[in-house]
């Protein structure tokens, strides 16, 4: 019997197997989005609880990974809405850039490959809307169309956010302004 069918029958072992299969992947996604390990753990816990309760809504078992990712993203967003105290920490003013800069190529990001700087930390310093698209694009390896569906924005918006976030990342990595936490 398929794992999802077993989960629909509320089988504990099936849930355990699904956590084993996707737990790390979802935790890493949540960690990039929330920039807090504990919050990420809790968001993933909530993801599995939601998945267990609403598994009937999953029509195609092959889409389990993207379905779980969607739930994780929703939980991360909901946590960020509730989670205000972190916002008290001053954020970097990274977004006052000119149009010319936006038109620069994304290839500059290649410096990240050679750089000893932490790419994940740099991503976590971006504003949430940029962090989200760049995480889904680079870490979750989603297509622009998939990201558009996931975060309920137009494809062009996704593209422009990606461009913007690449530039911001490039700057962060070049300047070495990557801070822990």
């Amino acid at each position: 019997m398929h794992l999802i069918d077993q989960l629909k029958q509320k089988d504990e072992q099936a849930l355990s197997s699904i956590m084993e299969l996707y737990g790390d992947y979802l935790l890493r996604t949540a960690f990039l989005l929330l920039n807090d390990h504990q919050e990420a753990e809790e968001a993933v816990q909530d993801t599995f609880i939601t998945a267990y309760k609403k598994v009937e809504q999953l029509d195609d078992p092959c889409k389990i990974k993207s379905w779980l990712t969607t739930i994780t993203i929703n939980h991360c967003r909901s946590r960020l809405r509730k989670w205000n105290w972190k916002n008290l920490i001053p954020t970097m003013e990274l977004f006052d850039r000119t149009k010319d800069e936006i038109n620069e190529t994304h290839d500059d990001l290649l410096i990240a490959n050679d750089s000893k700087l932490c790419l994940s930390k740099a991503i976590q310093q971006l504003d949430y809307k940029y962090r989200e698209v760049i995480t889904l694009y680079y870490f979750n390896e989603m297509k622009i169309t998939e990201i558009s569906v996931q975060i309920h924005v137009k494809e062009n918006t996704v593209k422009s956010r990606l461009k913007r976030s690449r530039l911001l990342l490039r700057d962060l990595l070049r300047k070495g302004e990557v801070h822990d936490g």
Binding site: E12, L15, S16, M19, E20, G23, D24, L26, L27, R28, F31, L32, H37, A40, E41, E42, V44, Q45, F48, I49, Y52, K53, H106, D107, L109, L110, A112, N113, C118, L119, S120, I123, Y137, Y138, F139, E141
Partner: protein
Amino acid sequence: MMDNERKNLTKKLNQELNDLHFSSQQNVFDKIYKKTWKQQIVSLWNKEIELSFLPITVVTISLIFLFFSTNLIISDNSLSVKKEKILIEVGGNIYWKDEIAKVESQYEN
């Protein structure tokens, strides 16, 4: 070029986050099968506990011994108090000697 960049960045991210592992499986089970307070009370009431025979026996015997020995001491004390009191006969009636002494001292004063 773009695909290459994407692959490289994905690889780098995976390397950086490789040490992160989801470790809250038990919490998920606990939250899913969260008991109501009634179920918690029933499970507490029906909880099986294991007690080792020897320590329990030793403690019980010690408590029984302590209880009886304390009772004996108390009763011994009351007896000794009674023993200290002496009965005397005055005018055909029997009184406690110390009580008579108290009355006599009152009259003397």
